[in-house]
């Protein structure tokens, strides 16, 4: 099947998912991010790689945090950044997604950073751009429904590589609401491509997608089993609306069964790192003792996130 993220030469033209992203492309992104990380430490934090380019942040679903990280990344590359809170403007007036895209293309957009509540929305956009012959416009998926959040997946890979170097001997536990998590899916595909030793999906049956094993993970319903001798623990956020109902009886019971406490973390390797895509629900999926503890790398993830997004945008602009 044609891979809509790559051009005929196998170069990245859109970043839509870590699923189907070749290993050398992932490595290229992580290596490029590494070089950008130094820029963030300088007094002058800008490079001119995207000077004169217009990056449109198209957020059909609100997310101040993710939008801000993309905005910072684009500005450090000297791009002009336009933030559109589409959830409150055109679509509310009945304009379709593709009409919005056509209008922005007419305004000479060079890149779209898209967040949408529907899985696959960025694919619809890239397919449309292809159909109207605008293959020079790039799309970055900043989160679509439950499907993918590739820059988060890549910054997670950057973090793991930073602390653990090689993926092949690692055991990575992903804990929590995997069913609704685009981060989990992006992590699983990237970890698989990078040859991770073992990937565990940890959670109750109500929060695991059916046939999740087909993605190359081992299912653990018991948190202790999932954490034992793990090198990396990725905790997922549990959305408020899923805490009480048919998926879970209560936040309290969830924390007792799947919350990461210092005692549970002790089952993992002594040098295990703890990651979280944020924003955290302290006392629901993670105990403050762990979130603020020595093994947490949650804030470095945020820093690496800027560099990874700079890397993705600069690579896309060059292809």
């Amino acid at each position: 099947m044609h891979n809509p993220q790559l051009n005929a030469a196998g170069e990245l033209t859109h970043l839509l998912s870590t699923d189907g992203l070749p290993r050398d492309v992932i490595t290229q992104i992580l290596d490029t991010a590494s070089s950008f990380l130094e820029i963030s430490d300088r007094d002058v934090k800008k490079v001119p790689l995207l000077r004169g380019k217009s990056v449109f942040n198209l957020f059909f679903e609100n997310s101040t945090r993710t939008r801000t990280t993309f905005e910072i990344a684009a500005k450090r590359l000297s791009a002009d950044v336009i933030n559109l809170d589409v959830s409150r403007s055109s679509t509310a007036k009945g304009e379709t997604l593709l009409d919005t895209i056509d209008n922005l293309v007419a305004m000479h957009a060079d890149m779209f950073v898209v967040r949408h509540a529907s899985s696959g929305a960025p694919y619809l956009i890239t397919e449309h751009l292809h159909r109207v012959g605008r293959t020079d416009v790039h799309v970055v998926n900043a989160g679509d429904g439950r499907h993918a959040h590739p820059t988060q997946g890549l910054l997670d890979m950057y973090t793991i590589r930073h602390y653990k170097k090689d993926f092949s001997p690692l055991t990575v536990a992903i804990v929590g609401d995997i069913l609704h998590s685009r981060v989990a899916r992006s992590d699983i595909h990237a970890l698989t491509t990078l040859g991770t030793g073992e990937i565990r999906a940890v959670g109750p049956q109500t929060l695991l997608p059916s046939a999740v094993e087909s993605m190359g993970v081992r299912v653990c319903h018991d948190l202790a089993d999932g954490l034992r001798d793990a090198d990396v623990v990725i905790m997922l956020r549990l959305q408020n609306e899923r805490m009480n109902g048919a998926l879970l009886p209560s936040a309290g019971e969830y924390f007792r069964c799947y919350g990461l406490t210092p005692a549970m973390l002790a089952l993992a390797k002594p040098d295990a790192i703890v990651m979280h895509p944020g924003p955290m629900n302290r006392g629901v999926e993670i105990d403050s003792g762990v979130a603020d503890g020595a093994q947490a790398v949650i804030l470095p993830q945020v820093t690496f996130g800027i560099a990874v997004r700079m890397a993705v945008m600069s690579i896309l602009a060059g292809n």
Partner: protein, 415 residues
């Protein structure tokens, strides 16, 4: 008008005919097969050399987004009789609406239209529709289309009431609470794409409860658009237990599976969803074995309805003009004899609808399809007469093309 169709391969599954035979039409009816009736002189002769001559196709479910265009599409696809489900806008729950549909479709003078009435008012699943009145207006059966009856007592009463008058009930089995906001088969593909899943048990739970209610009430039940192997197994068991239950499978479900969604192709969004390849294979076997008939489930969707993210796109596909070629393709791929394949879209579906159609018995209305089984053509927006251009087969080549269609002895389509 007296017509003589000559030199064709005449296939009439109902009467067990498959031979090169001539067919004679007089006064809109089949006058004779083989030998001309005494004193017959043809005013019009159709040379069917290289063509198959079969009964006009009978479709179990066609949505008429525009009566004239869709009936033109029907006859272009060889369909001469079709049932229209009640989920029109407004729904077919009043005799005036049914009469209007019957009148307008008769005025078009193309395919025959058989309305299916709403089982409950507004299809809301709460109050029984006036079935007797609707039946007198022209309804040949009653259904909820895709709408649920949340209260099973209402379904029980609906079956009892319909059975009082001998009306057949059609249900598309899906437990709407289990299906919830799902848009794709709950399996590997939906999990990977992050699409909300509809598990197979949404179908089997609904089939099992409908069968139990039919058993309790003696209702004559048709279960429409079966999508899973497990669903077929339940129905097959009920049929073996001599229950009056029939079912059908949509033509697309015979060919496609959830992997055809690819990268979120909204043309592959169906209700019920395309299921696994194993399910698809079980459906193919069930149709071959005669457990299920084939329906087109023709659902034209305009471009705006499909140019949306997968979960927001309207389900369904245009199908009238693909029913025949895709049935032939299934037959070739499964080595099913042509007369058996044609039975599934002629006499079998006519029997399910309880209408006199789908056969070439002398005395029957001369509803006939002549098609070239070898002709290949490419599915394209221009090649389709239907308003709906939405099909996963767009751009693909198919084999088998309608040459002429006759309704009541009159040529209503000729290529």
């Amino acid at each position: 008008m007296r017509t003589h169709i000559t030199n064709g391969r005449l296939i009439d599954p109902k009467n067990g005919i498959d031979a090169t035979l001539d067919l004679f039409i007089a006064d809109g009816r089949i006058a004779a097969i083989g030998k001309a009736p005494a004193g017959f002189t043809a005013e019009h002769t159709l040379d069917a050399r290289g063509l198959v001559v079969c009964p006009g196709l009978v479709d179990l479910s066609t949505r008429l987004s525009g009566i004239e265009t869709e009936l033109a599409a029907a006859v272009a696809g060889g369909v001469t009789s079709l049932a229209c489900p009640p989920d029109t806008s407004p729904p077919l729950d009043e005799p005036g609406l049914v009469e209007r549909l019957v009148r307008r479709s008769a005025a078009a003078g193309l395919a025959r239209v058989y309305p299916i009435g709403a089982l409950t008012t507004q299809l809301a699943g709460e109050r029984l529709a006036e079935m007797h009145t609707l039946s007198r207006a022209g309804c040949i059966g009653f259904s909820q289309a895709k709408k649920p009856i949340p209260d099973r007592l209402v379904l029980l009463r609906a079956m009892q009431y319909a059975t009082t008058f001998g009306y057949a009930i059609r249900l598309q089995p899906q437990d709407h609470q289990i299906a919830a906001d799902g848009v794709a088969h709950d399996g590997e593909v939906a999990s990977r794409l992050g699409l909300a899943g509809i598990p197979v048990c949404a179908e089997t739970v609904a089939i099992a409860s409908s069968l139990e209610l039919a058993r309790a009430t003696g209702a004559s039940l048709h279960l429409a658009r079966i999508s899973s192997a497990a669903g077929i197994a339940l129905i097959r068991a009920a049929q073996q237990a001599k229950m009056a239950v029939t079912c059908d499978v949509s033509i697309y479900h015979l060919h496609l599976s959830d992997s055809d969604i690819g990268f979120f192709d909204s043309n592959a969004r169906f209700d019920p969803p395309l299921r696994s390849a194993a399910d698809r294979d079980a459906l193919r076997a069930a149709v071959a074995a005669g457990v299920a008939a084939i329906s087109s489930d023709h659902t034209p969707v305009d471009e705006d309805g499909k140019q949306l993210p997968f979960a927001e796109a309207a389900p369904g596909a245009t199908a009238l003009e693909l029913l025949l070629p895709l049935t032939l393709q299934w037959a070739r791929e499964t080595a099913t004899p042509l007369p058996v394949a044609l039975a599934r879209i002629t006499c079998d579906s006519a029997a399910i609808l309880g209408v006199s159609a789908g056969a070439l018995t002398p005395g029957d209305a001369a509803d006939i399809c002549l098609f070239d089984p070898e002709a290949r053509w490419q599915v394209s927006a221009d090649a389709l007469r239907s308003r709906g251009k939405n099909t996963p087969f767009i751009g693909r080549e198919v084999q088998g093309r309608v040459h002429s269609t006759l309704v009541g002895g009159r040529v209503v389509f000729q290529r």
